[in-house]
Every structure is written in structure tokens, then in C-alpha cells.
Amino acid sequence: MNRVRNVIIGTVIIVILIMVVGYSAFATQLTLNGTAEISGIWDVRIVDVQAQNSSETCDEGEPQFTNNSVIFNAKMKTPGDTITYIITIENRGNIDAILNNVIFKEDDVNGSPAISYEITELANVLSAGEKTNFSVKVKYDKNTTELPSVKTKTITGIVEYVQK
């Protein structure tokens, strides 16, 4: 009886310590979500981000992405500059996904009015094993004649796929 108890308690302590050590190492960049709870294979993720068709004076930066988030930092110098980011989403699971929600909004109302953006349409259904692309085009207004006082604009986009 005592032996069984000690084995259970010892195992629990070791397991919790392993998790604590791992959590300390990874803590700052966790973006996992609850999809891990599904026992069918639900795995819709961002697999690639590429900058395309940029104007010569643009700096596309190095877009960074995780499974479920993308960060890009577009720097434009000349009015009329555009940068297009192509984002690839793949359904690596075996459950078909359907587009439930797309929200793109400007985070700050005081962002530069000279910067605008366009989003292309997303695939409504993303079947298991399929990939889809959509693009975010960032534009510096070509009619701007003076340097705007506010030079940045932060945009947050949410693309939500759910089980079909």
C-alpha cells in the first residue's frame, strides 16, 4: 500500500517538475489555444507569410508568424508605395473547417490616415489537408503631398475557422 502511494506521489512530483521546467523555458511565447482538446484532429494553422509586389522604396521587414498569429512591420517611404503580404493557411487536421469570422480593425483611431489596407477574400471552406491563401495589401496614399504627423498605423486581424 505504502509502496503504491509513494510511487504515485513521486511520479506526480516528477511530472509537475518537468512541466514547470518546460513552462519556465517557453513561458513568454505561448499562443496555444483550446483546440488541443478535440480528439478528432483539428489543426488549422498559418504555414507561411511572404511579402510580394512591393514598391522599390519599401522595406517589407521580416514577417514573423506562429501557428495562429502573424506580425509584419511594413515601412513605406514614398506616397503610392504598396506592400502585399501573402498569408498561407493550411488545414493539417482531418476535420473540414469553415470560415466563421474575419475581423480586421485599426487598433488606434489616431493612426496615420495616409496608410490604408485591403484584404482579399478568404476561402469559405478549408477541407482537411487543403491550403488557402489570402493577402493583406498595405498602401501609402499616393495623393499625400506632405509628411503626415502620425506615421504609423496598427491593424489587428482575426481570421477564425471552426469545424464544418
Partner: protein, 381 residues
Amino acid sequence: MRHFNERKIAIILLLYIFLIVFLTCNNIQIYINSINVLFWFSMCFYLIYNKNVGKIYINRKYLIFITIILAVYIILYFSLGIYFGFLKSPYNHTVVGFCKNILIEIIPIVGIEMSRYWLLNKNKSNKFSVIFITIIFILIEINFSNIVNASRKSLFIFLCETLIPIIFQNVFFSYLALKSSYILPLIFRISSSLVFIIMPIIPNLDWFINGTFKVLSTVIIYYLFKNKFIICHSKNIRYKDRLAYIVTIAICVLIVCFMVGLFIYEPIVILSNSMFPIFERGDVVIYKKINNEELKDIPENSIIIYTIENKNIVHRVVGKIKNEGTVLYKTKGDNNYVPDSELVKINQIKGIYQIHIKYVGFPSVWLYEHLNNDISAVKTE
């Protein structure tokens, strides 16, 4: 119909695992759900009609007990969402989607628990057979697509969030199957699966909370079950048993709460020597979270913990700039020649350094370096 003994059933289960692994490795996952449902449906059918597994006596006191435990488990799990937030459930909530999910989730559970019960009770006198059968059911539960082509970091997270809880739960379900019947694990598993299928939201828990919650809850439920239904001869042994479990679980829960920042103090592992000689690589710094008012008035020379591009940095405040009601802090590592290039905004600050513990963080440093070289974890730059 041909009759199989327990050895042949075990071989069929092993062959089934190989089939699933083969399909997963060859990226033919699309058929797995259908094969899974068909296989377990056939197994249920076979066991009920040939082995009379369906005829089971249910002890009412077990039933009431497991219902209460289950209700508390589900309430506790969903309560975590109050602190960590909720996610919209990705399950389909239309009638067709609901029926499809029931089929995919519930039939395999029934098949698994019936087979486990039958196999274990045929071999309960042989300890090695019991262990071997439990291992088979652990392998059956593993989603191999998470392992194929996964990075070392993903494998580690898979180990903590999925594999370890699966091992704990399966050992417990085998214990339940041996001590009572397949009905108790069945009720437990079906109810918890149904809750996830039905609920429109699920708690947004990271792998650490998910993994620790499942492990600790399984141990607690095991203890409660054992304490209530298994007769122990000595009061003294019972008392020692209770004390050992309560103390262990309480310490583990406190450690988990401390790690995820439920308290005012939070730990952080240091990965570089920029603050040497105050503290160095491998030390653990404990910092205190501060409120909005305190954030605007951090004294110079304080050591602050702040976040830039998802990295935690622990540096000393060497200057303060007030600008149109906002405050920006200039920071520098004690071991660096120049101050940091970026000023720190108050919304980037997580807290103020309190104490540090030498060398405790070395296992995390080792893990950080060996599991994934490109992750951006805790740095002092």
C-alpha cells in the same frame, strides 16, 4: 461468428494501432475517423454478443459518487476560463454536426472501455498482463499526427499536455475497470466529451495548465475513489495516506498557481549575464507585479521586468522621461556598456525585481537551448 480469446483480441488491438500509425505517417488521416468508428463499433458488437460484456451490474453508490466527482471536475475546469479566458468552441453545433461528433467521439470511447474491461478482467491475476493491456490502451489514445514531423519543442509540449495526462488517465481507467466495471470510466469519459461537444465556449488554457490540471485531477479522483470504496485495515495507514496525498497535491497546486502568475509574485528564469554580478544565467528572479499608479513612479535604479516583442527582459532603470502624461523608462543591463536602444513604456512593464534564487533555473536554460534553438524565451539581453 468466430470466437477470439483475449490474446487474439490484444493482437487485433496492436494491429489496429499499427494501422493508425501507418495511415498517419503516410498522411492518409482523412480515413482515420471512419476507420476508428467502424473498428470500435465492431468491437462493441462482438463483445456484447459473444462475451456478454453488456450485462453489467452497476453499484448505485459508485454511480452517485462518480456523478458528483464529474460535476465538480467539469465546473472546476470551466471555472479556469474565468481567469484565463474562453475560446469559441471549434465544434460544429448544428444538428448534423452534433450527431457526427457524437458518432466520432462516443463510439470509440464505448468500444475502448468495453475492451479494456473484458481484457483486464480476463487477466487480472497477472500483473504483467495488466500493465501490457494498459500500455495498449495508452497507445490507442495517442494522436500520432502530433508526433510525425513535430519539432522538439512541439514534442515536449505534446508530452506534457497530452501524453502524460493520457498515461495517468488510462492507468486510472484500468484501475476503475479492475475494481468496478467499465461503466464508471465510460460515464466519466462520455460526460466530459459531451460537455466539450455541447458547450459553445471552452477555457483558453495553455499546455501547462491543461497538462497539470489533468494530471492532478486524475490523482485526486483516484485518491477519493480509493478512500471511499477500498477498505483499508488500519486507521493509522489511512491517516498517513490522506496526509501524504493532501500535502503533495496542495504543494503541486501552489507551484502551478505561482508559475502561471496567480499570485502577486511571479518567477522568471534568466538566460544571459547582462545583469551580472547581481544575478546571472540560470538564476531565477522573483518579481512583484505592480499596479498602474506604481508603474508611473518607478524609482531610478530599480530593476524591472518588461516585455519587448514577446521577450522578457530584466534590466535596471537608469532614466525616466515624462512626456504628455505618459512615462517612458530608459533601461540598461548592469553588465552592458550602453543603455538599451528602446525606451520602455509602462504597458510593457510586468513588475519589479524582488529576490533571486541561484542556479534553480538551469534545467529551464538547458531545455531552452536543447529543445528549440529559435524560441525567444526569457532573456536579459
